[in-house]
Symmetry: C2
């Protein structure tokens, strides 16, 4: 039995929309329900949870819908789209986690709240957008838009980067192109206090979906949305500190972090200090698009005295007890 | 000076998306900002607010986007779409009301939360859907869908009602057709307690957008979404009771309710008892699609001992002081 802890859970996208699924509401609801059964077990074991989640597949689908109807309906910027996915996914999680808790006799209010995350408009990420988002385009499709005169364009298919209509595109594996957007560092979670208050009131908050709606904070303290996405695990790491949680639990597709991933020498990383993890990150041990951000978020939590656990939903309880997964904590 | 009150505000759709506007994010943000300046004045005057809002134009635009991309992206049902608009509009209100409060030196946390509203699956509304939603279709467009064999169809252009692909359509003024959906009575707001707790903690909650995500409550207490929309003013009236608010403030396009609307004998209704209002409703004094639901929601609040005020945003402060608008309260 693990001592009860306050845990920020970061649910991967596949916990909401399984890989390869079309993504109907029924499919998403069933997938979310499975994740919520796992989360409910943690609540029933006495843990206090804050639930955060990704939104990549959902925001990608909304971008496709926006483009398809762009002549009739004005497209929304990324901060507003993130809010839409917070509503959509938050609703599903709120409903299914509430149901799962009730069926376990561990009834508790679950509330999804819209979360804004403060970023620095001078963050270097704005100068070099690198977060792929939304649908894949063929070279022909992008060329057609350039020929049609969709605003400015620079770069082109011979280069690996192309700006069309003000948006940056990059060639990805397989030769298709995807839009890339800036992913600045989260500096503050505007609703952090409200999340802490809900926790104190016995509520399970669902928040910071998709990393939160990115906003800039002006000198007078007012907020304005910015065109970016924030890494959900980084925001979850920040939130772990802001709500004084003991643990960041990053739930993903694999049971633990691997060293030498995909090589003959692949072996599990069961535990590490933040310093060891920073060294591995600097050595390029973890791919930027997948395990890298998770490990970096885990290191940040550990550097601030917390504990981070990376594992799969099925192994969450064992991992919290140190019997599975990868634990990052000060030595 | 009015005594400080706990007020549930129901913002009309035009407070978020002005009539005739295309609805870009910038337009919506500017319109929301004007509404929030008015709301911030009420907070600065000492009132405790719960903010609810409509979502008709926004959900209509999402339905257009869903249809345009329906071959690529699965369409979401109405409960999920409502949640998406709660995220979208909740974010804009949360940000702009926070800004407006800060600029007035009345800084307070503002939190938008996803709200579920319980309805009865046996509500008579499900047998006779009458709430128009989404885009207008021409007869030709619906006929094309029938000929293409989009599922079942019954009725037809000679009748005033038509079922195409499982959805009911009705002929509206001007000869176009619109989908009509059931609008059952709200029975409970699942997150009502959480809203009350946030109020006690000094937070301004934004909730019950678009009337809330409609859900059925099974015998075991678990919840499941249903295909319907709930009238936002009726949900706001219910919420007024659930959070023990003094006042329901319905903000709309006109300064007050009129009797004999559009006739030579048109005159303002400055105050009425719920019994008087019920009589006027029974006499068909108020049109079903516009003032009727607002007046009915107001009567419900007054019947439970509260006060309801119907007015425009500009006159809100005066109306709360009894110097403008229409006040419905027990005699």
């Amino acid at each position: 039995m693990t001592a009860p802890a306050r845990i920020v859970v970061a649910l991967g996208g596949n916990a909401i929309l399984a890989k390869g699924a079309r993504g109907s509401a029924d499919e998403q609801r069933a997938t979310v329900r499975r994740a919520c059964d796992g989360l409910a077990a943690l609540v029933a074991a006495g843990h206090e949870l804050v639930v955060t989640h990704g939104n990549g597949p959902q925001v990608g689908r909304m971008l496709i819908q926006q483009r398809a109807a762009q002549l009739e309906v004005p497209s929304m910027p990324l901060d507003v789209l993130d809010a839409q996915t917070q509503g959509q996914i938050g609703y599903l999680l709120q409903q299914q986690l509430g149901n799962a808790l009730r069926e376990r006799g561990a009834q508790r209010p679950v509330v999804a709240l819209v979360t804004q995350v403060v970023v620095d408009p001078d963050d270097p990420a704005f100068a070099s957008p690198d977060n792929p988002l939304g649908p894949h385009f063929t070279e022909t499709e992008l060329e057609f838009r350039v020929q049609r005169g969709d605003g400015d364009s620079s770069g082109g298919p011979s280069a690996a980067a192309w700006v069309v209509d003000g948006d940056a595109y990059r060639k990805v594996d397989g030769g298709t192109w995807r839009r890339v957007v800036p992913s600045p560092r989260p500096l503050d979670v505007v609703e952090g206090d409200a999340v802490a208050r809900l926790l104190e009131a016995g509520v399970v908050p669902v928040c910071a979906g998709g990393g939160g709606c990115p906003v800039a904070r002006h000198d007078d303290g007012t907020l304005a949305g910015v065109e970016a996405v924030v890494d959900k695990d980084r925001t979850a790491a920040l939130l772990t500190r802001l709500v004084s949680a003991d643990t960041l639990l990053i739930l993903t597709d694999v049971e633990q972090v691997a060293l030498g991933y995909g090589t003959d020498a692949e072996r599990p990383l069961r535990s590490a200090t933040p310093a060891e993890v920073r060294r591995l990150l600097a050595d390029g041990e973890f791919p930027a698009g997948s395990m890298g951000p998770k490990v970096a978020a885990a290191a940040e939590v550990a550097e601030h005295g917390g504990r981070a656990v990376i594992t799969s939903l099925d192994r969450a309880a064992d991992a919290l007890a140190g019997r599975a997964g990868t634990t990052i904590a000060a030595g």
